[in-house]
């Protein structure tokens, strides 16, 4: 391995609301390796979605990326302006590094959908109701000049078949609303993967689908991962993270509070917030063990408590120590936590 596929350093994204500045993401760092999946978990408002959207700069007008780097290793393409041939890019030196956060808009557009695919929470909403699946799936192949219309169509049909949609030849002529929720979600994954991106960002891809379909979607993503694609998965569901993510980043109030390999995190959560998340998870709990909801609610980003933002809800909090800032500290086995008590215990 010559290095991570994506390397995010000290990402800070702010929202400007009148005179207030909401610090939605405050110094997030993580790496994604090819063929591995990273889960970013947290409650709503923890900044996990903003983090993901910041990577492709798909943010509302009021948002501003205040700081950070997101270095993506992309294969060198024949003809940098997007010709019809695809670069083979087998040798490791056939890669170049781009900073997604600093790239000019024009160049970023070439990265979006081509080097980085994105899967949304609600496929119904994420597909244009006036386009047939064929148009929907092939448009970005044409935008990026990857291939011509006929080939794009063939590829789309094949991709639909690959994700398990029956009779793709016929389905491709239908509109998104004529598919079931599960099929739509699979079609969206097929769409994102058509350009063979090196990185896939999946924003709660299983939240809006039936439980019975969730498993299929996850299995599909496992396949994508096994083909060497790096995946960033945004989820609030630790069960999803356990099922197929290799590493987990736990976010709270815009900061990373813990980062660890999935099994380590689930077996021995270090940060009290991670402990709380696990304790309130239905799927992961023992039947015998009562569910333990985290008391209180996530803080208002405009009025964050000083120090560790979790301390007002934390059962182990000790004032005033918890009111001073605590950076992530690396523990022995390469895991990191932002709780000084956890560090002291380790």
């Amino acid at each position: 391995m010559t290095g991570p596929l994506l390397s995010v350093r000290d990402l800070r994204t702010h929202f400007v609301r009148g005179k207030e500045t909401l610090r939605a993401v405050q110094g997030v760092s993580f790496d994604v390796e090819p063929g591995r999946a990273l889960a970013i978990v947290g409650e709503s408002g923890s900044g996990k979605t903003v983090t993901a959207r910041s990577l492709l700069r798909l943010l509302p007008r009021t948002a501003r990326i205040a700081n950070g780097q997101a270095i993506l290793r992309v294969p060198k393409r024949a003809g940098a302006s997007g010709g019809h041939r695809r670069g083979s890019g087998s040798a490791s030196d056939a890669h170049r590094e781009v900073d997604l956060l600093a790239l000019p808009e024009r160049e970023l557009r070439r990265v979006r959908g081509r080097e980085v695919g994105m899967v949304f929470q609600n496929a119904m909403e994420a597909m244009n109701p006036t386009l047939t699946l064929e148009r929907q799936l092939t448009e970005h192949l044409l935008w990026h000049g990857i291939c011509g219309k006929t080939e794009a169509r063939e590829r789309a049909v094949r991709a639909l078949g690959d994700v398990g949609i029956p009779e793709p030849e016929r389905r491709i002529r239908t509109y998104p609303f004529q598919l079931s929720g599960g099929m739509r979600q699979r079609a969206m994954i097929a769409m994102a993967m058509l350009t063979e991106p090196a990185l896939l960002i999946a924003d709660e891809p299983t939240t809006a689908v039936d439980v019975t379909v969730q498993r299929q979607i996850l299995d599909l993503l496992v396949e994508v991962k096994n083909r060497g694609t790096g995946i960033v998965m945004i989820t609030h569901d630790l069960g999803v993270a356990r099922y197929f993510c290799d590493d987990v980043v736990v976010m709270y109030a815009g900061r990373v509070v813990e980062r660890a390999p999935t099994t380590a995190l689930l077996d021995e959560p270090q940060h009290p917030y991670s402990v709380g998340l696990l304790g309130s998870s239905v799927e992961l709990g023992d039947r015998a063990r009562p569910l333990l909801p985290i008391p209180g609610s996530p803080p208002d980003l405009a009025r964050l408590p000083s120090g560790c933002a979790f301390h007002p809800r934390c059962g182990r909090a000790e004032l005033p120590r918890c009111q001073t800032d605590q950076d992530l500290v690396t523990l022995t086995d390469g895991r990191e936590t932002a709780c000084w008590k956890a560090v002291a215990d380790a």
């Binding site: 798909l58 979006r112 004529q178």
Partner: protein, 307 residues
């Protein structure tokens, strides 16, 4: 038409596991809107009527028995049923039936021309303002608001006075009077659609701004825009007649229903046919176009429900 929507979704929900024979027929928004429109009998009949009117207007030179300016001083104010003059003649001995047909031509030409002008302006300004936002939006919508505050009839009167009483001036005058409300509607639609996930998804796939505006926002906004345009057409026909009533219509002898009605009023007792026919046809035309608009509104509203 909620039933259609539910049965469709039901069928597709089962689609995942059921035999492939269930795969639904691909039907786009137009096809579905057309289905709903057709099931509305009043709207459908009105549409046929409007279609006939358009055909009649196009075929005027072949259908009309006389030229609209052809006078016959020996047959002035002849009543209905006079041989050669089915609907009688007017003060100058001109054939009323023929003038009605040519008047229809004027009315439709002005109305469609004006609404086309208005639509193009409204789409351009509304789409750019709504999509780009920021300073551009402020300037464009500020301009629109100023135009909105201006009394449109007065504006039309000034324009016709300045440009002369030509068809072109009328189209411009009426078009400019009606683009403002439409531009605001387009912008409102764009603002709402801009928030949709599929617009963001398109951006995430690398779409350029204009592509998103034209392929992802516009087709989804077209329903409501089409509906207001269809309501604006009878309004434009009425506006043309109104201007004619004020003496600001097309230059005589080019016939206009408004002018025919005004002339007819003077001889209401001696020759009622001079006013009655244009008035009745005018009313029917307005009604038919309005009903078509109603039908379109219902047809497109239901498609909104389905999402």
């Amino acid at each position: 038409m909620g039933t259609i929507a539910t049965s469709e979704t039901l069928a597709t929900d089962l689609g995942a596991g059921s035999p492939v024979a269930d795969a639904p027929r691909p039907r786009g928004q137009w096809a579905r809107a057309w289905d709903r429109f057709r099931s509305n009998r009043l709207a459908f009949v009105s549409l046929i009527f409007c279609g006939l009117l358009v055909l009649l207007a196009l075929a005027a030179p072949w259908v009309a028995t006389h030229h609209y300016a052809e006078t016959d001083y020996n047959a002035r104010l002849t009543p209905i049923g006079t041989p050669g003059h089915l609907l009688g003649t007017d003060l100058l001995g001109r054939d009323v039936a023929s003038r009605l047909i040519y008047g229809l031509r004027t009315a439709l030409f002005v109305a469609f021309g004006a609404e086309l002008t208005a639509l193009v302006l409204a789409l351009l300004i509304g789409l750019v303002a709504g999509y780009r936002g920021g300073r551009i939006e402020q300037v464009l919508m500020g301009f629109t608001d100023v135009m909105y505050a201006f009394p449109s009839y007065l504006f039309a009167v000034v324009l016709v006075t300045v440009l002369g009483r030509s068809l072109f001036a009328l189209i411009l005058a009426i078009g400019i009077a009606s683009w403002v409300t439409q531009a605001r509607l387009v912008r409102a639609q764009v603002l709402a659609l801009k928030q949709r996930d599929y617009v963001e998804a398109a951006r995430a796939m690398g779409a350029r701004g204009p592509t998103i505006a034209v392929k992802y926002i516009l087709p989804n906004a077209i329903g409501p825009i089409l509906v207001t345009t269809s309501f604006a057409i009878p309004a434009a026909i009425a506006a043309e007649a109104g201007l004619a009533l004020l003496g600001l219509g097309v230059q005589p002898p080019t016939p206009s229903w408004g002018a025919m009605i005004t002339d007819g009023m003077k001889y209401l007792l001696a020759a009622p046919h001079m006013m009655v026919f244009p008035a009745v046809l005018f009313a029917l035309t307005l009604l038919a176009f309005t009903w078509v608009g109603d039908g379109l509104r219902d047809a497109f509203d239901a498609s909104g429900e389905q999402r």
